[in-house]
Amino acid sequence: MNAKGKVFKYGANVDTDVIIPARYLNTSDPKELAKHCMEDIDATFVDRVRVGDIIVAGPNFGCGSSREHAPVAIKASGVSCVIAPSFARIFYRNAINMGLPIMESKEASERIGDGDEVEVNFTTGEIKDLSSGEVFTAKPFPEFIRKIIEADGLVGYIAEKAKS
């Protein structure tokens, strides 16, 4: 299980209000939410992001509200992985429940530059910056978390478990 894409880089404490401003929380449609993803921190994000791209940010990514709309908006915008030294705890939980891969790596967060091509291996935790050639290692997901992400989130995971 891998992710590969171009990096959008942001600073510390990227909060849920800039990921998806509350003025758009009157809908829970992922496509609608994706149209406004990162709007208040980077108005051009939505036009530039391509399927597979990766967000790299500073510590405490996703701080603020419990809105699941935040990881939903990021995922629906096409982003395949978020890398940061640390995540706010509700966002961390919500991202996994929504099937949005997140990796904790201080080094990768500091060294990877905006626009770099990056490849992530979720099984080994290896993060490769193809532009600089540098390789970083994050803690890989335990198997059940990998399965949740493969099942597109907790609901899909529970449904698949019920089938088997």
Partner: protein, 428 residues
């Protein structure tokens, strides 16, 4: 095996004798909460779980408060979806607009007697941590967790490490619990308690009112905390007796206390007498400055209310400072009582007349402008002093507007002055 107060509550709800930090546990829940933003997506998930009923209709609370009274068609449809769900599953604690129990979720749940010491609570709202004021474990989750908990009555937790915050002395002058929590967030940062409990203790606890404790725990999340929690004392029990008389009479609550030798990752000692009036500058709650130690900041709007500072004690304090003063011409001051009960009591006590005479506008109980929903959105370049909990970019409106967080006294004084200032600057 020693444990913190939070760890003891979690162990009890997981049916274990003890737990250690980092341990993953499955815990039974005493209450599960959702609001009009987080419940509609949870209903979709709930349907996918194939559950035919909620685990306990008396232990689910669904509160329309964020965009209510409905701000637009989409919000109205969200609220309708929640209302229909509440009706279909006989949710007792669904509070329709106008219901005597209605209001902002974290103001009404304690007032409506749904919280007691020792409870384990999750809510699909980050400020669910408010209830730690009553010696309960309470934390925020997302809609998927809400849905699964509505179906099963349980959820999984990672047992948190804890920070011990030892309080001594008592707050002085116009300094409130809000200033204390802003001071702490300024000290440790917005991720200073990431994944951890903030356990308050020390002789200073007894000097803090329940309203102050609710305000303090409310903002534990702004330091990244999983929960904030106060020990149970006479004030907690008095509160329980008043707001949850049946649970008090039936002794349906549990008093937990941290072990003397419980382990903490950090101990912070705070002399309450030394805490000064605080203002958190844009765009993070950690950007705190002591009142008087910054250049003049002119403002356009003041907001008094929210789950942080919308309780009766807050409105009483606001009215006592407003008395004999008026909001400065050209400034808007919006007062949002936190609940219908607070609204009615404020009316009865004459507080509403003080606000009206001071030329404030008074709203229905709603989260409203706090999260940029409605009832006081800021235009580009506008500045607002607010008793709410977040001042992120675009939180209350235009991405180029600014929110300055403060306690009630600074907010009132600023409304009168037209710039950020304290009650001591008002003419006597």
């Amino acid at each position: 095996m020693s444990m913190t107060m939070t760890q003891k509550i979690l162990a009890k709800h997981a049916g274990l004798d003890h737990v250690v930090p980092g341990q993953l546990i499955e815990a039974k829940l005493d209450l599960v909460l959702g609001n009009d933003v987080t419940t509609p997506p949870a209903i979709d998930v709930f349907e996918k779980t194939n559950a035919t009923q909620v685990f306990d209709a008396a232990k689910v609370a669904l509160v329309p408060d964020h965009f209510t009274p409905n701000k637009d068609i989409k919000s109205a449809e969200h609220c309708m979806k929640m209302r229909r769900f509440a009706k279909a599953f006989n949710i007792e604690n669904y509070y329709e607009i106008g219901d005597p129990k209605m209001g902002v979720e974290h103001v009404v749940l304690p007032e409506n007697g749904l919280i007691a010491p020792g409870d384990a609570i999750i809510g699909a709202d980050s400020h669910t941590c408010t209830y730690g004021a009553l010696g309960a474990f309470a934390t925020g989750v997302g809609s998927t967790d809400l849905a699964c908990a509505m179906a099963t009555g349980q959820t999984w937790f990672r047992v948190p490490e804890a920070i011990k915050i030892v309080l001594s002395g008592s707050l002085q002058g116009h300094v409130t619990g809000k200033d204390l929590i802003l001071h702490i967030i300024g000290m440790i940062g917005v991720d200073g308690a990431l994944y951890q409990s903030m356990e308050f203790t020390g002789a200073g606890v007894a000097t803090l009112s329940m309203a102050d404790r609710l305000t303090i725990c409310n903002m534990a999340i702004e330091a990244g905390g999983k929960n904030g929690i106060f020990p149970v004392d006479d004030k907690t029990i008095e509160y329980l007796k008043k707001y949850a008389p049946e649970r008090y009479a039936a002794e349906r609550y549990h008093v937990f206390a941290a072990d003397e030798d419980a382990e903490y990752v950090r101990v912070i000692e705070i002399k309450l007498d030394e805490v000064q009036l605080q203002v958190a500058f844009p765009h993070l709650p950690e950007n705190t400055k002591v009142l008087g130690e910054f250049e003049r900041v002119d403002i356009d709007q003041v907001v008094i209310g929210s789950c942080t500072n919308g309780r009766l004690e807050d409105l009483r304090l606001a009215a006592s400072i407003f008395k004999g003063h008026k909001v400065k011409k050209g400034i808007r001051c919006i007062v949002l009582p936190g609940s219908q009960r607070v609204w009615k009591e404020a009316l009865r006590e004459g507080l509403m007349e003080v606000f009206a005479d001071a030329e404030c506008v008074i709203s229905a109980a709603t989260c409203g402008p706090c999260l940029g929903g409605h009832m006081g959105i800021l235009a580009k370049g506008e500045r607002c002093v607010s008793t709410t909990n977040r001042n992120f970019v675009g939180r209350m409106g235009h991405p180029e507007s600014e929110v300055y967080l403060s306690g009630v006294p600074v907010a009132v004084a600023s409304a009168v002055l037209g710039y950020i200032g304290g009650p001591d600057e008002l003419s006597k």
